[in-house]
């Protein structure tokens, strides 16, 4: 048979079946256009039960509201500070390796030795500060408070160690930062299964401790002593994208994790007294809240301080500015770790140190103390100290302290670094930026300016380059001179200082040529005379600088100069400097004078000013250049300088030419534009800020002080005072304290014009345009009539009132006022926004909830906060809102114990925690406390314990108490085992709700779990209410019926009087009351009871005695311990420890000793059941076997009695007699028995007869009775008549 191929199945492509299939297929892919199930099957979704519906609704609503948090105003800074990553773990787990690997991963740099925090740029928007945390509990506590992320390293081959759990518990108490576990040493497992099991076990244990699902990272093995690149990279990714929850304590307090420390103490003070208190500056990123100057801070491990000065510095590890690319380029991968010697650029308040690394960097030389430097520098100088002292405001060397410190202080600290000296020796080249003092304060903006310039303008660029090089050169020359001519060096420094002071105001140096050029030259001459031979070179440099100052007007910042306060200050400074006539001061003064001028000129229009400026520059340029050229020959002698200066000169001549002939090259044009803009800005700023108002309000403080000073000066001979001029002072000081604002010159309100002046303040008066109901209505009509108008915006402008329009036009004619345009634009935008808001409101009305509103409000506030300070520069902003988080700040602190500096160890974190308003105060703090369940002992009242609360770690003496049902706080001797109790101690006030932990000691390594207790602050108070029970006992000495006289309870009648009416009780429970004191024995009283007492009764009274908390507060100063011993701090010892160390044994009262309880054996008699009862019992219960009468023990045996023969005879006779007698009795008894029997029989017979007789008798009686009745019946039948008969 041939087998034909069967016909193949053909899919149907059309028809209803195909369509159906297609639909099904689509539905399976969830692409079908089938309507949802609700529509398809409405019955399934119909309301079955209203109750269930309500319930489910309720539930969803509950779930929804559960998710809500109270909205808070968003205060996260625009540029957040680096995230603190704490790498924690027991020793030898791989912490340092991990940090090194992470740093290498992010920055491609390898740090060999890591000390202290390392800040790196990890991404476009994130920086990290990585710090290692050892297992010293001090360090663990401090770092847990500042950590944003804790990487907990766990040795998988070993398992969890105590430190890990301790750290977790510390974290829990102090806000719980994000925690990520990292398992290391995974390569020690040979078998995969075992590895898997271990991983799982550790993971689950970790989860129970942190939260289920917490991330645990596995680092599988080491390659060449480092972790695997891919794993580290992944870990890095995790860290970079991690989100953080704000922690309450951290967000509400400013804090700094210091990454740099400088000792600013005067070396002379240190020389005289090495233990003198130090002045220290600490650097770091500000985190948390805003920090204000002069606020209180706490450095854990050191103590409380007041910030003596704060300033912000340019960010040493800044985020990349441009964010076009996806990833960072090599230049932007910065790392900053001054403690580890990695910094690149170090910024100080008025200097920048560039570390070029190079081949000469020796680590050892950093240990050199400044005292050495002083000595060395003294050797190298050739002038006497006296001479140096005489010339004030002179720094000996670039690296030592300024000698005329008060002057220098005024000018804005010029603090040299100790590293600088080191670097000089090692040959590391450092360049000092030559910004002015104020400029530097305004910091990075200036820098940015520089950069901008360099981008745009080549000329500018070169000049600025020159500038820095120049500075460098100056130093170089300084060095040269130092070897040769000491005075020369001084002078140079001086110049630099002066230049620092220069408020190089750009736009009005016009009086250079007008007034003080002659002065300048004169002064210069003087200085030349003074300085003999070397002056010429110096002058050369000076002049060149002056030229540059003229040349770079566009460069320099002018912000601060508008501030009049600053101005005044600088004025006084300058005056002071003038008196000592220095070569460079002419320029300073000029600049200042020009300042004033510019203020006066401020009324001029901007354009005029602009042109004036140009003129000024044109005029100004030739002169200095000429001077320079005249000096050119001289300057050529110095090889280093001349080349630079020549360059400079060339550039400046270029400038000059450009300006003179006003050739409109592109560069020059730009420069000029900038100038005009700057001038305009300056003008506007002056108008806006109106320093008068601020000065009016904030400027009078100094006046007051002066007055005070004057007051103190008027003392004569220490005894008498001149009591004059005090009148107005007194008037001011003792004036009436009243808030009313009295009207001095009242207006005459009857006059029409006066009345008209306020008429618009009433609703009946004229309204502003945008609020006038009629106008708005009209506008609205327009608005809704045609939408095109709205878009153009011009229409509205045209619509504004005729008067204002005219004014506008006038303004426009006068000057191109950007404000007018802006305001119009703004108006337009406002209108648009309003419309949008209206639309939004209408559109979203249904869904708006209270929560949404609240959130909206917060958001609005956040916007407002941002907008308020957005356009202000940091300098001004800092004054109002304080230093904001994210800034790199430098904090100066005075009176720091010298041990902090001497024993400084960068491995230990230095945290500057800002304190709140009253957190610096000390009082009683009440807390809820629970002994930690892993701590082996219980805590004893009045034993010193170390607490960690807020920023602080301190030792104090707590009292434990428990609250009774009536609110009484009863003292406890020991903390309960498994229960919360209260604790009160005397210590720093910390806000309620702050968590704390307690440890018994921070020193050494303890065998067990170290955290003794945890809890939370409940209450703060200045008084305490803890009481302990006190029982007073007394004895009755006279008892009447219910009244007794009690003695021995009190000592005097007065005491009794205090307790009259108090309840007393006897031990047996008879209650009573104290009535009145008695006279006779002192302290006895009359009392009544509910029953009669016995003389043996003891009467007692229960009272409560307030306990005082010892005022002992001892901060843990672990950072002051010598390096290597920082974990050995020990404070006050407990009584137990003291006793142990001194070998004192406690003498216990014998009565309170525990003795073995001796109990007497209870002897029970055998159960005796009476025979009758035994008989009655069922067999089952009958006693079966009588216990055999055991042998009578010998002691029970009676002694045998041996009688005398005579006695025996008597006894025998008695026996016989008794036998006879008993026999007789027996017989008699038998006889009697028989007799009785007989008698009984007789009696019975008689009885029977008697009964018989009685029976017969009764029979007879009944018969008679019956007959009688019968008779009666018969008679009744016969009738009454018969009866009568």
């Amino acid at each position: 048979m041939e087998t034909k191929d069967p016909k193949k199945h053909r899919k149907k492509n059309s028809g209803p079946k195909a369509e159906k299939k297609k639909k099904r297929h689509l539905q399976a892919l969830q692409l079908g256009d089938e309507e949802d199930a609700r529509k398809r099957n409405p019955k399934a979704f119909a309301v079955q039960s209203a109750v269930r519906m309500a319930r489910s609704f309720h539930r969803t609503q509950d779930l929804k509201t559960k998710k809500h948090h109270i909205p808070v105003v968003d205060r996260t800074p625009v540029e957040p500070p680096p995230i603190v990553v704490v790498v924690m773990g027991p020793p030898k787990v791989g912490k340092s390796t991990l940090i090194q690997c992470l740093i290498r991963n992010f920055t491609r740099q390898k740090l060999t030795e890591i000390r202290g925090p390392v800040t790196i740029v990890s991404g476009k928007k994130r920086r990290l500060t990585i710090i290692e945390c050892g297992c010293d509990i001090n360090m663990m506590i401090d770092l847990a408070k500042v950590a944003d992320l804790a990487l907990m390293l766990i040795d998988a081959s070993f398992g969890f160690e105590m430190e890990t759990f301790e750290f977790l518990n510390i974290c829990q108490v102090h806000g719980f930062p994000k925690i990520m576990g990292v398992l290391t040493h995974l390569d020690s497992f040979k078998y995969n299964k075992q590895l898997k099991k271990t991983k799982k076990r550790l993971k689950h244990r970790f989860w129970t401790e942190v939260y289920p699902g917490a991330k645990l990272f596995y680092l599988s093995g080491m390659v060449h002593g480092e972790y695997q690149n891919q794993e580290i990279h992944n870990l890095g990714r995790f860290i970079t994208v991690m989100k953080f929850r704000p922690l309450t304590w951290q967000t509400s307090h400013p804090y700094i994790l210091a990454d740099r420390m400088e000792d600013l103490t005067n070396p002379e003070d240190i020389r005289t007294n090495i233990k003198c208190d130090r002045k220290v500056s600490l650097y770091g990123y500000l985190r948390g809240g805003h920090l204000k100057n002069k606020s209180q801070i706490h450095i854990p491990g050191v103590g409380d301080f007041v910030v003596s000065d704060v300033s912000f510095l340019p960010d040493p590890c800044a985020l990349p500015e441009q964010q076009k690319k996806r990833c960072l380029n090599e230049k932007e991968k910065l790392v900053y770790a001054p403690f580890s010697g990695v910094g690149g650029v170090l910024y100080d308040k008025d200097a920048v140190y560039v570390d070029l690394g190079g081949s000469h960097g020796f680590q050892e030389s950093e240990e050199v103390r400044p005292t050495h430097e002083l000595v060395q520098s003294l050797i190298s100088t050739h002038s006497t100290i006296d001479a140096k002292m005489a010339s004030s405001r002179v720094t000996l060397f670039s690296d030592s302290k300024p000698l005329g410190s008060e002057d220098i202080d005024n000018q804005g600290l010029w603090m040299p670094k100790e590293e600088k000296q080191v670097d000089l020796k090692t040959g590391r080249v450092r360049r000092k930026a030559i910004f002015g003092d104020e400029e530097d304060e305004s910091g990075d903006s200036d820098d940015e300016d520089n950069k901008e310039m360099s981008e745009g303008d080549r000329l500018e660029n070169s000049s600025s380059d020159d500038e820095t090089e120049e500075g460098e050169d100056a130093e170089m020359t300084g060095k040269q001179y130092m070897s040769g001519k000491g005075i020369k060096r001084q002078k140079l420094e001086m110049e630099e200082d002066i230049e620092v002071d220069l408020p190089a105001f750009a736009d009005s140096d016009d009086d250079l040529e007008r007034s003080s050029v002659e002065e300048a030259t004169e002064e210069d001459d003087e200085s030349i005379e003074e300085e003999d031979s070397t002056a010429e070179e110096e002058r050369d440099i000076l002049e060149s600088k002056a030229v540059r100052e003229g040349g770079k007007p566009g460069l320099l910042q002018t912000n601060d100069l508008s501030d009049s306060l600053n101005l005044e200050k600088s004025l006084t400074m300058k005056k002071a400097t003038l008196t000592t006539s220095d070569s460079g001061h002419c320029t300073a003064e000029e600049a200042f004078a020009s300042e004033d001028e510019s203020e006066e000129n401020s009324s001029l229009s901007t354009e005029e000013e602009d042109s004036e400026n140009e003129e000024v520059i044109r005029k100004k340029f030739p002169k200095p250049s000429q001077v320079v050229s005249s000096q050119k020959l001289v300057s050529e002698s110095l090889i280093d300088e001349t080349s630079d200066i020549e360059d400079l000169l060339r550039e400046e001549e270029d400038y000059k030419e450009e300006n003179n002939y006003s050739t409109e090259t592109s560069g020059a044009l730009k420069w000029k534009e900038d100038l005009s803009r700057k001038a305009a800005e300056a003008f506007l700023r002056q108008q806006q800020t109106t320093p008068n108002l601020r000065k009016l309000i904030y400027g009078t403080v100094t006046e007051d002080n002066e007055e005070e000073d004057g007051d103190t000066k008027e003392e004569l001979g220490g005894l008498f005072r001149v009591s004059q001029s005090a009148s107005e002072c007194k008037h001011k000081a003792d004036s009436l304290d009243c808030s009313r604002f009295h009207v001095e010159v009242p207006h005459d309100w009857d006059l029409e014009e006066v009345m008209n002046s306020i008429r618009d303040c009433f609703v009946t008066g004229k309204w502003e345009e945008d609020k006038d109901a009629a106008k708005i209505l009209a506008e609205d009509e327009e608005l809704y009539g045609d939408f095109e108008d709205l878009e153009t915006g011009d229409v509205h402008k045209g619509k504004s009132g005729p008067d204002t329009q005219v004014e506008d036009v006038e303004e426009e004619v006068k000057e191109i006022d950007p404000n007018a345009e802006e305001s119009a634009k703004k108006k337009h935008l406002d209108k648009k926004r309003k419309l949008k808001e209206m639309f939004d409101a209408e559109y979203d009305e249904g869904e708006n909830t209270y929560f949404d509103d609240l959130k909206g409000e917060m958001q609005k506030q956040a916007q407002l906060n941002r907008a308020e300070f957005e356009d202000q520069d940091d300098e001004a902003r800092v004054q109002y809102e304080g230093f904001r988080p994210g800034m790199y700040v430098r904090i100066e602190i005075e009176n720091v114990p010298c041990e902090f500096v001497l024993n400084f160890d960068p491995h230990y974190p230095v945290i500057l925690g800002g304190l709140g308003n009253s957190e610096g105060n000390v009082g009683y703090v009440q807390m809820r406390l629970k002994k930690h369940r892993w701590y082996k002992k219980i805590l004893k009242s009045r034993d010193p314990v170390i607490f960690s609360v807020g920023w602080r770690r301190f030792q104090t003496i707590p009292l434990y108490y428990i609250e009774d049902h009536n609110g009484r706080q009863r003292l406890l001797k020991y903390t309960p085992q498994h229960m919360h109790c209260g604790a009160t101690f005397w210590g720093p006030i910390t806000p309620q709700g702050t968590g704390f932990l307690a440890i018994q000691s921070v020193s050494g390594i303890m065998a067990d779990f170290r955290i003794a207790a945890t809890g939370v602050v409940l209450d703060l108070d200045k008084s305490i209410k803890i009481v302990k029970k006190l029982k007073l006992t007394g004895f009755p000495y006279k008892i009447f019926k219910n009244t007794s006289f009690i003695k021995g309870m009190f000592n005097s009648a007065l005491e009794v009087a205090k307790f009259e009416g108090a309840v007393i009780r006897t031990v047996s429970g008879i209650r009573g009351q104290i009535k009145k004191a008695l006279r006779a024995p002192e302290g006895a009283f009359r009392a009544t009871f509910e029953d009669k007492l016995l003389m043996s009764d003891i009467v007692f009274m229960r009272t409560w005695y307030p306990v005082s908390v010892p005022a002992f507060y001892n901060p843990v100063t672990s950072l002051l311990k010598p390096a290597g011993e920082k974990d050995t701090w020990s404070g006050m010892r407990t009584t137990g420890q003291l006793r142990l160390s001194h070998g004192i044994k406690l003498k216990a009262s014998k009565d309170s000793l525990y003795k073995p309880v001796v109990r007497q054996k209870k002897h029970f008699n055998s159960l005796h059941i009476p025979k009758a009862l035994q008989k009655a019992l069922p067999f089952k219960s009958k006693p079966k076997t009588q216990a055999k009468a055991g042998k009578i023990p010998k002691d029970r045996l009676r002694p045998a009695v041996i009688r005398e023969p005579h006695e025996r005879k008597i006894l025998a006779l008695l026996d016989a007699l008794s036998t006879v007698h008993s026999e007789k009795m027996k017989k008699a008894k038998e006889q009697r028995h028989l007799h009785n029997k007989e008698h009984f029989k007789v009696k019975q017979k008689e009885e029977e007869e008697k009964l018989k007789r009685q029976k017969d008798l009764r029979k007879k009686l009944y018969r008679i009775q019956g007959q009688k009745e019968r008779r009666n019946q018969k008679s009744s039948l016969k009738g009454p008549g018969e009866q009568l008969k």
Binding site: I697, D737, R740, V763, N921
Partner: protein
């Protein structure tokens, strides 16, 4: 050992109240020297002593040291405690003197404050209780201090020289204040007021009302001035009469003015008509000054702005009163600074 917060030192008795109040709020001890040191009658006055006593009552753990002559005062503030308190104020100053400070402190107590103050309710020196009730309370409400228990009640009216007034003030506790944005005072929409008289003819009040209206009617028709004549024990111990006016704007700003008759034995008698007219003129002056906050409450507004969260608050003020002006020097306690921008 414990480092006490660095204390502040001042000289002279001016702004004593402010200094003590701010010291209490900031927790920093304060030392004031030379209190009327050159005066014939040196040292603290009765009313100041009474104020210090009041502070002691509402705080817990304050330490107050005054030297023999009363020219030096050391005040170490305790914790603001609150609770139910009664206080007899000195009659040298009116209750307003004490109440102004209490308004600053009350929201920050541990327990809600409920205080009965006895003394003079209206005098010519201090803002009266009525005015504070009409202006300061709405201002505090702007800061979010509100609630059922927030009230100021004049139980008895007491005039100089006898006194005998009684005021009940209760305030809830608010840890966080709302930031305010008071930059637009709005337009005055109505004027309210009260003419009160005690121990004089009730007709006096009506006469005051008529005269005051005669001036204010020129500006706005919506005026209502109540008359309040207290009798018996509620009228205090001395006769007197007075008027206070408050102008309310569309945006909830209250501007006030008040005037009280000369008290018994002080100067010439005042005609009620004159008093009404002068008071109305004072109100117009106040309106002329402008601002979103009454001149008496300027300092209160500024203080509460600094005590709030670290959000930006804005307020438009008229010319600063000398009292407010002095505040800045005290506010250094808080390290607070204000941005002052003039309005055209």
């Amino acid at each position: 050992m414990a480092t006490q917060a660095h204390s502040l030192s001042y000289a002279g008795c001016n702004f004593l109240r402010q200094r003590l109040v701010l010291s209490t709020l900031s927790g920093r001890p304060v030392k004031i020297r030379k209190i009327r040191a050159r005066d014939d009658n040196p040292g603290l006055r009765d009313f100041e002593a009474s104020f210090i006593r009041l502070l002691d009552k509402i705080t817990n753990g304050s330490r107050i040291e005054i030297n023999q002559t009363g020219t030096t005062l050391y005040y170490q503030p305790g914790l603001l405690y609150g609770g139910s308190v009664e206080h007899d104020c000195s009659i040298l100053r009116s209750i307003g003197y004490y109440l102004e400070s209490l308004l600053c402190l009350a929201p920050f107590m541990k327990h809600p404050l409920r205080i009965v103050l006895r003394g003079v309710t209206n005098d010519q020196v201090d803002p009266s209780v009525d005015v504070l009730k009409a202006t300061a309370l709405p201002l505090l409400k702007q800061f979010g201090i509100d609630g059922e228990s927030f009230e100021l009640k004049i139980v008895r009216r007491g005039m100089l020289p006898g006194g005998g007034g009684e005021v009940l003030f209760s305030c809830p506790v608010r840890k966080v204040l709302k930031p305010i944005q008071l930059t637009d005072p709005g337009k005055i929409r109505r004027i309210r007021g009260m003419a009160y008289s005690v121990r004089v003819s009730p007709q006096m009040a009506n006469r005051i009302v008529d005269s005051a209206r005669s001036i204010l009617n020129k500006f706005i028709p919506d005026i209502y001035i109540y008359t309040d004549h207290m009798k018996g024990v509620n009228a205090g111990r001395s006769p007197g009469f007075g008027l206070w006016l408050v102008a309310e704007t569309t945006n909830g700003t209250f501007l006030s003015a008040e005037l009280v008759s000369n008290h018994q034995g002080q100067g010439a008698a005042v005609l009620p008509e004159d008093l009404g007219r002068n008071c109305a003129k004072l109100l117009l002056e106040e309106i002329h000054r402008g601002g979103c906050v009454d001149s008496t409450n300027q300092s209160l507004a500024l203080l509460l702005m600094t005590l709030g969260q670290q959000d930006v608050s804005k307020v438009l003020l008229g010319p600063l009163s000398p009292y407010t002006f002095s505040k800045k020097d005290c506010l250094f306690v808080q390290e607070a600074k204000f941005i002052v921008t003039p309005l055209d």
